[in-house]
């Protein structure tokens, strides 16, 4: 996996934490724990009525409805396990597909199906992809829900997958922009928060799993279901980088790396997030 130097900032933070402790911050640590517990309780409460369940149902209807210039359904779509084999397919994505000669995530593979089976143009297939009313969001939520209970399994051993996993890891550590941020700035330290939000340490398999099993997810702060690509694009926006193009290789590479880190996690999407 990652080399040992990947963990250097964690050691440094441990030193900082020790210094903070020395200056009399013991009480604040207790306060941190209470805040985290309250947030978890709130999240559990919310998850009992996840609006993404409706998104999933609408996605299923869309999946089975003949549409597009070819007036066909998506029921023969091959997401990697064979035509029409949906169960557990999301948990094994992204992966290499010989027919397109590309490593594809669920979103780019879905578009391949919409073009091949239903006859949509690329532009029509991804129309309003960022919107809560987009076909992609509904369909991806349905697809992901068919992996509920399946283990994330992205070993990235196929050469093209392996290449993207390594590039995705390098991207994860790539600092640039006016705030010098990389993904790793926030996401490579165990047990830390930005404001009150816990941030997953994607170098830790248990954190990576806990995060990745929940996407796509209903975001309470946005009032929308977001796909993983939408989530990543927003992380990158917050880093003050420009927006990467939808379905671009950067987003695929990051997902290969993240899913590889999260492998073994049991899918529980659609989830509910802040």
């Amino acid at each position: 996996m990652t080399t040992s130097n990947a963990r250097a900032p964690a050691r440094r933070l441990a030193a900082f934490a020790a210094a903070a402790f020395l200056c009399g911050a013991a009480a604040v640590l207790g306060q941190d724990d209470r805040a985290t517990q309250e947030i978890q309780k709130y999240r559990q409460m919310l998850e009992e009525g996840n609006p993404a369940d409706l998104t999933e149902a609408r996605g299923e209807e869309l999946w089975k409805t003949p549409r597009g210039p070819k007036h066909a359904t998506l029921e023969r779509c091959d997401l990697g396990l064979g035509p029409g084999q949906l169960e557990g397919a999301y948990a094994k994505l992204p992966r290499y597909f010989a027919d397109t000669d590309k490593v594809q995530d669920v979103e780019s593979r879905l578009v391949t199906c919409m073009m091949a089976l239903q006859g949509y143009s690329y532009a029509d297939a991804i129309k309003n992809w960022y919107s809560t009313e987009s076909d992609i969001e509904l369909l991806v939520t349905y697809i992901a829900a068919q992996s509920k209970g399946a283990k994330i399994d992205v070993p990235a051993t196929q050469p093209r997958e392996a290449e993207l996993a390594a590039a995705g890891e390098a991207l994860f550590f790539r600092r640039s922009g006016p705030l010098d941020f990389s993904c790793a700035t926030c996401h490579s330290h165990a047990g830390r928060r930005v404001r009150l939000q816990e941030v997953a340490d994607f170098l830790l398999p248990e954190d990576a799993r806990a995060a990745m099993i929940k996407w796509p997810a209903y975001r309470v702060s946005q009032g929308e279901v977001w796909t993983m690509e939408r989530r990543l694009i927003d992380c990158i926006r917050q880093m003050r980088w420009p927006e990467p193009q939808y379905q671009s290789e950067a987003l695929i590479a990051l997902q290969v790396f993240l899913q590889k880190q999260a492998s073994g996690g049991v899918m529980d999407a659609p989830g509910m997030k802040r």
């Binding site: 130097n5 900082f16 903070a20 390098a170 830390r192 404001r195 939000q197 926006r237 671009s248 590479a253």
Partner: protein
């Protein structure tokens, strides 16, 4: 200034001669990642590219070494960072803590793109609470960075400390190569006067930061 600088560089050079292992990134993967970045951000203007995606030497080195640069590179990063620091025209490094308190809470500014950009000219802040506990009244403080409540108790507020804290906020790499903290002054995110206001927020005895229990 030299008194503060020399021991750090000497310590880093000592590490070099001790032959500390220089664990680097994966060259092939970094090269591929750069190719991918060029292909993935297609609608970016040349100005946006230069300001937000093109890496300077420090960013590239800290990325490659995953924020743990080998000693020779660390020395270079620290020296460049120290040389980058500019001070307010009036020479006052301890500004107005009330202004600093506002800046510490502002998280907006500088978001671009089609989906959720900031209006042009929206104020930049330090967003310090994202990572640090400061004034004890603000409970929604992150903990990616050290807790800075009652900072005077920890550091005092001598002129040497004031300068050291100014330098840290202006360009954190001047004291810690590949620090995770943004280079607020060096990158032009905050003005030297705003950096001085943040220094006052931390080191003015009247600041709420120093009124913790």
């Amino acid at each position: 200034m030299m008194r503060a600088t020399m021991p750090l560089i000497a310590a880093l050079l000592a590490l070099t001669s001790a032959g500390a292992p220089a664990a680097g990134g994966n060259d092939t993967a970094v090269k591929k990642a750069e190719e991918i970045v060029r292909k993935s951000f297609v609608e970016v203007t040349p100005d946006e590219w230069n300001a937000r995606l093109q890496q300077d030497q420090t960013q590239a080195a800290c990325s490659y070494y995953r924020n743990e640069p080998p000693p020779d590179i660390a020395v270079r990063i620290v020296s460049e960072a120290q040389a980058s620091i500019r001070y307010p025209a009036d020479g006052k490094l301890l500004g107005n803590w009330k202004e600093g308190a506002k800046l510490a809470a502002i998280s907006t500014g500088g978001h671009i793109g089609k989906l959720q950009p900031d209006p042009p000219g929206r104020e930049h802040g330090g967003n310090c609470y994202a990572c640090h506990a400061l004034a004890p009244q603000e409970v929604a403080a992150g903990n990616l960075g050290p807790n800075l409540t009652n900072y005077i108790k920890l550091r005092g507020n001598s002129p040497g400390t004031v300068k050291s804290v100014y330098d840290k906020i202006y360009n954190a790499h001047a004291q810690y190569p590949c620090s995770l903290m943004p280079r607020f002054g060096h990158n032009g995110w905050l003005t030297p006067e705003q950096v001085a206001d943040l220094v006052a927020f931390l080191l003015d005895a009247e600041s709420p930061v120093n009124k913790g229990q």
